[in-house]
Amino acid sequence: MEKSKTFFDTWIENQNKVVNNWVEMNEKIQGQMAGGETLQKGTELYNDWLKNQMNMFNSIAKNAKNGVNAAESITENTKAATDMYNNWLNTQMEAANKWSETMKNLFTDFYTQNQQAYKTFGTVTNMQDAWMNAYKMMNENMTNSFKGLTNNFSLDSTKDIFNNMLKGNDVYQKVYEFWTNATKSMQSGNFSMENFKNAFDPIGYKTILDKLFGFDASGQVKEFFNNTTRTIQDFQANMHKMSKNFQDMYQGEGNLLSGMLPVDMQAMTEMYKTYFNNLRSSFSPFFKLATPGKETELAEVAMDIVDNYALFMMKGAQMQHMIYNAGNKAMEEVMNDLQNKVKDGAEFTSFQAFYTEWTSTNERIYTEFFNTDEFSQLQADLIKIDLEIKNSYQKQMEIMLQPFPIVLSKQMDEVYETNYELRKRVRSLEKTVKELQAMITDQAYNKTSDVAVHSEEEHKASSNGKAPKATASAKK
């Protein structure tokens, strides 16, 4: 046991080292992709914006959320949530529209009449951001509340669909944020690809792609490692507990035994038998678990996992990097198209049109990218490494669970294979029986026909003293 504890502790330490190393590597890759300084600058600016402008609907959103949580039944929840949000949203829409109108008028008046005043009212764009961020926060609070309420849906399929709607809305909203950057530039008359690129927030855009493709490797891997570490620690603790139970039991039995001496030998023997059986059934798992050589096997499997995980993380980061680049290319193409439309004097009245354009351009570019040898090979490699890791974990679990009365998957495979062979044999025999039955039926029918023909011949022969001739059987 002492030996096992040392091995597990070392293994856990190694796992943590790997995770920390990967997190550093991931940050480096992101830095290289986005261009180090720009990444940091963009992040700081974005964070400042959010921090400075989260005040407009904060308290209202909180009250609305608390109101939803207080509802009792699904019907009441639906009514309470929707009525409340409908009323609140109508109020906010009116306020937002009014604000938008006021700001637009103010902007136009001051810009055309007073350049100095315009400089002061440069904060118009900040206020637009304020609305955007406040709305975003309201939306987040609302979607979080609704997520909890979907537990009351009667069908899992409708629950999944609504959750997917929320995710879709999330992406939609994030694309809208990017679009507003472009519209700000358009409004101030200095929209160009160069300006757009300078204002482009790579971290923000990355979150869109992460949501689309389900990337959150660092979080998932860390969580996986944490869960695995907890599993190992729990396993150790349980082993200690079981060991303690046995020790208590041993102590109790031992005391009982010594108190019985000197006694009737027959009774003594019976008691010893009972004591020994209890001892054997309680302690045998520990004997099996501590079999020499298994720790080496466990260690080897653990090292395989560590190696494969490192490879998986590197290739996973490579895949993400390729997808982010494809996403950037798509966004650039959309913005180029938008720039051309701006030059032609187009009027923009709908974000939906932009979103549709963005969606179809991304679809085309990602389909082209997915059709490359590079992507195909990388995807295949990732699937293979993922399976190897899972195989290693499965092997570890089998080694650890082997002492317990649990049927392991490889033992079930033997049963399945035997079952399959037997079913195949039965099917083949059934077919043979069917064919034989058909043959017998045919023969019986033909024989009946032959008998009928012979009777007539015999009759004739007996009349004129000749033996009956064999006749051809009637065929079906």
Partner: protein
């Protein structure tokens, strides 16, 4: 350069309202019904069943037709809803329709092979129909992978097949026109099957969803516009239910299908072996109707069309359907155009 900010604000906030409406609509739904055409279980072997559809109309095509669907996803899509049901259409046109139901494979089925499906289950079903109907032969209608299996069966048992209809069926896997065909060539199929045993439907679905990466997010925003229309919403929900209903795949069958067909294209090369016998497409001599979808991103036309040049049939037709892989069955054009065309073709060859 004009930007109407009022419209933009309204447009964006309306999305939130629609989400709330979506919640209300979805929370009231207790059942999503698909595949409601009445049918009767007539034969069963383990998890595999054979159903015969009840036909209130007069049967005008005497040769029964057996629909062999793919192992991937469920045949319910052919009867997704009463007004978009390829099967109901065939029934109304006087066909006697049977359908294979492959059930839901479990780990116990991991050793089931392609030979078991073709020379086992399909052959048993065909024999059952032949024995219980007045017909010595059966017409086969194979869909997608089911079409591949039906073609293989027809090559091995031509004496039992009256007519062969294949819909969006992959035959020539050498093409890279579709992403699935491209990706399959690099997959380590042995690693997948050796790990999973029975390959999970979720694994396949994750691949299918990558074929149109933006669709998953975009369609949920589009459906928000249909929340007031209960019929449109239910149509959407039925498709979603069908998409999610993805059975696991028997490992050994998956292994052979992927390696021998997708990776080595053995069927076209004449090297495919099943049950110890080589599959020679020239042995397909019965009338053939080969239907392909022009905009099929799952099974590109270049994978389907070559069948007509490989079979020994003298009576063969290639039918182009303007639509996608699923549109062939659920689209409105399919109800008006395809089902009648297929029924007419079968009727002419019913003697």
């Amino acid at each position: 350069m004009k930007i109407n900010t009022d419209n933009l604000v309204q447009e964006f906030t309306q999305t939130a309202q629609r989400l709330m409406k979506g919640y209300e609509t979805l929370s009231k739904i207790n059942e999503i019904d698909v595949a409601t055409a009445e049918k009767e279980l007539v034969w069963k072997d383990g998890k595999i069943s054979l159903f015969r559809y009840k036909n209130e109309n007069k049967i005008t095509v005497q040769t029964p037709i057996l629909i062999v669907y793919a192992l991937v996803n469920r045949q319910d899509m052919m009867d997704i809803q009463p007004d978009r049901s390829y099967i109901r259409n065939l029934l109304s046109l006087g066909l006697d329709v049977y359908i294979m139901d492959w059930g839901y494979a479990t780990q116990a089925d991991k050793f089931t092979t392609l030979d078991d499906y073709v020379n086992g289950y399909i052959d048993d079903a065909v024999d059952f129909i032949r024995e219980t109907s007045a017909s010595e032969k059966v017409s086969l209608m194979g869909v997608c992978q089911g079409g591949t299996m039906s073609t293989i069966y027809s090559a091995l048992h031509p004496e039992k097949v009256k007519n062969l209809v294949t819909l969006v069926t992959p035959i020539d896997f050498s093409t890279n026109d579709g992403l699935l065909f491209r990706w399959a060539k690099d997959m380590d199929v042995d690693a997948i099957v050796d790990h999973y045993g029975t390959v999970p439907g979720e694994f396949l679905n994750s691949g299918f969803s990558m074929l149109k990466p933006m669709m998953k997010s975009a369609k949920y925003m589009t459906v928000l516009n249909s929340l007031d229309d209960e019929n449109k919403m239910m149509n959407f929900l039925r498709m979603e239910k069908w998409i999610a209903d993805s059975p696991d795949q028997a490992g050994e069958c998956f292994r052979q299908f992927m390696k021998d067909l997708y990776q080595e294209n053995k069927l076209v090369k004449g090297e495919l072996e099943l049950g110890g016998k080589k599959v020679d497409l020239k042995n397909v001599t019965m009338p053939l109707l080969n239907i392909y979808a022009e905009e099929d991103h799952l099974v590109p036309p270049s994978a389907t069309k070559p069948l007509n040049n490989l079979v020994g049939s003298k009576d063969k037709e290639l039918y182009k359907f303007k639509g996608g892989h699923i549109g062939v069955f659920v689209g409105s054009r399919s109800q008006k155009e395809l089902a009648p065309a297929v029924a007419e073709w079968l009727k002419k060859r019913d003697k």
